[in-house]
Symmetry: C2
Subunit: 334 residues, 2 copies
């Protein structure tokens, strides 16, 4: 049995859509058990009755002031987010899924669950839209602003284990996001990281990947520091939005366009859905001592269901234990 804690109050459409996502996940996986943290009365309005779902009442919801997330987490021990993370720490559950605010999730993971011993940094790793039949993980997208080469090495190892165990990719290909293809390109940290990744036996290093190749390169995993990864991810988002707007504008600018639209409405809807984060799932937070999946803040039921599945697969694949093994091997080597 795999047991997950759910922050039922996190996200724009909580608790309704979160609870509906839980209902879907429970129906789908017969060896899944969920513990929902949040306002019991509200949750029960939407919850199906199932012996594998329970609710733990938490009176408060985290309200992320941008000013001091650390203080927010410390002060609000009786919020759904903090209580769900505490359940992971106390080994009452195998992992946690939340659509709460990113900064809150990262801070709570650090303060409550804590990093795996020997793991220098954590990393947030969302999947990019599937293009050319391929999904790709991008990390770190913001758990750390700056990362040294040995940190990037560890998060690449972790991502590699994750894809091996949950996506059945035997030797995931890892690329380093950089401004040019040659090993000499980039800042000092990028050049160092190139060399350190090249020499690591735990995965298959492809080399540098320029962001214009992000969706066409053969890589399964794209690594960089959190500042750069966050920039890349948000630029994708902004560009996709801008292109969508321009497309709409151009189509509605003529009668031909409007008629054409009637014929290809379904095609354009599919096009839009391909870039909809709700269809992709959540982002794993690699590096803490437990499975943590952060769903999008705007998650509706299906998106949250996908995020639960991702946590379920991560627990089943024992990715945390396997990463611990690699780290302890390295420590023994040293």
């Amino acid at each position: 049995m795999i047991k997950l804690a759910i922050d039922a109050m996190g996200g724009d459409f909580a608790p309704k859509e979160i609870v509906k996502g839980c209902n879907l996940a429970i129906a789908k996986n017969t060896d899944l058990e969920l513990v929902l943290y949040g306002d019991e009365e509200q949750i029960k309005k939407y919850l199906i009755s199932n012996p594998r779902i329970s609710v733990v009442h938490s009176p408060k919801k985290i309200d992320m002031g941008e000013d001091d997330p650390i203080r927010e987490i410390r002060r609000n021990r009786d919020t759904s987010l903090v209580m769900a993370f505490q359940a992971v720490k106390d080994k009452q559950v195998d992992g946690v899924v939340t659509a709460g605010p990113t900064q809150g999730v990262i801070v709570a993971a650090h303060l409550i669950i804590r990093r795996i011993k020997g793991m220098k940094r954590v990393a947030l790793a969302p999947a990019l839209p599937v293009i050319g039949g391929k999904s790709r993980l991008l990390l770190d997208v913001g758990a750390n602003l700056e990362l040294r080469s040995e940190h990037i090495l560890q998060i690449a190892q972790f991502a590699s284990i994750y894809l091996q165990e949950t996506h059945n990719i035997k030797t995931p290909i890892v690329g380093l996001v950089n401004i040019g293809a040659e090993p000499s390109k980039g800042r000092e940290v990028d050049q160092e990281t190139y060399q350190i990744l090249k020499n690591d036996p735990h995965f298959n290093f492809y080399g540098n990947v320029e962001p214009k190749e992000l969706f066409s390169c053969p890589c399964d995993i794209l690594v960089t520091d959190g500042f750069t990864g966050n920039m890349v991810m948000k630029t994708m988002e902004g560009t996709a939005k801008a292109l969508g707007d321009v497309l709409k504008e151009e189509i509605s600018s003529s009668v031909g366009g409007k008629i054409g639209y009637l014929f290809m409405r379904k095609n354009l809807r599919n096009f839009k859905n391909r870039f909809n984060p709700d269809n992709i799932g959540g982002a794993n937070l690699f590096g803490v001592d437990g499975v943590v999946v952060k769903a999008h803040g705007s998650s509706e039921a299906f998106a949250f269901y996908n995020a639960i599945n991702q946590a379920y697969q991560s627990v089943r694949g024992e990715i945390v234990e396997k990463m611990k093994k690699i780290i302890s091997d390295v420590i023994v080597d040293e």
Copy 2:
């Protein structure tokens, strides 16, 4: 009369398309004089006869090895690129336009023309596609990997002068590309830059801009270090390409899509053109003591014509002289 040097051998379609772009520019601007550097025999095949165009034969074309652009430039004094830049240095012309390799252009600008005295760094500043009726400059996109806050301040001042003098924007709005909107967001350099930009009287500071807002923010100018700017630019490129591919795939996946396409072919072509760099122009290299415009390597005649116009406007707006004035005022103040 405004006199520009043209590197007629730089770019994928040189010299044919470059020369044709020159022909267009000469026909359009009656106070423009061009000096083309390159293989005289080849150039003359395409060149219209006009007293305001002359050719200076340069026997060689620069061949940018990725290894050592500085050595390439030093060694190859008789190439079209180096000779055209030398003409700026010798004040024979007011500026230079080239579609040659970016690294070669940046190195040649440094070694031959040199930076304006007191200008700490140079910056490459392309314009983004026009969205919402607005064009935006992004800089630096790769002339420097890392920039300190005082460097970013100077390039923001320069870009601001450029838009005032060439685009008639009285008080251009400057945004700092960052991972969050609040002043406390980003790396130490970003936080410092925020404060220094906020306190500068030479332009209108908007604050931080997340890349997901790049195409919707009210800013005319978006500043960041060269590594980040390059990442952002290339991510846009990669995302636009991926979206175009997916759109094509979805449209051709059904009969309805194919019929719809027949009706909106023109609309989709316009959509594509909106993101075509050829319609946008070149990138100014701000900070050297002369006007330098780098056209896209894939420039055809119209794109190169646009890049010439950009240099023409920059010379006419006396942007280099106006930046020198600001710098000398600052030096006097100190």
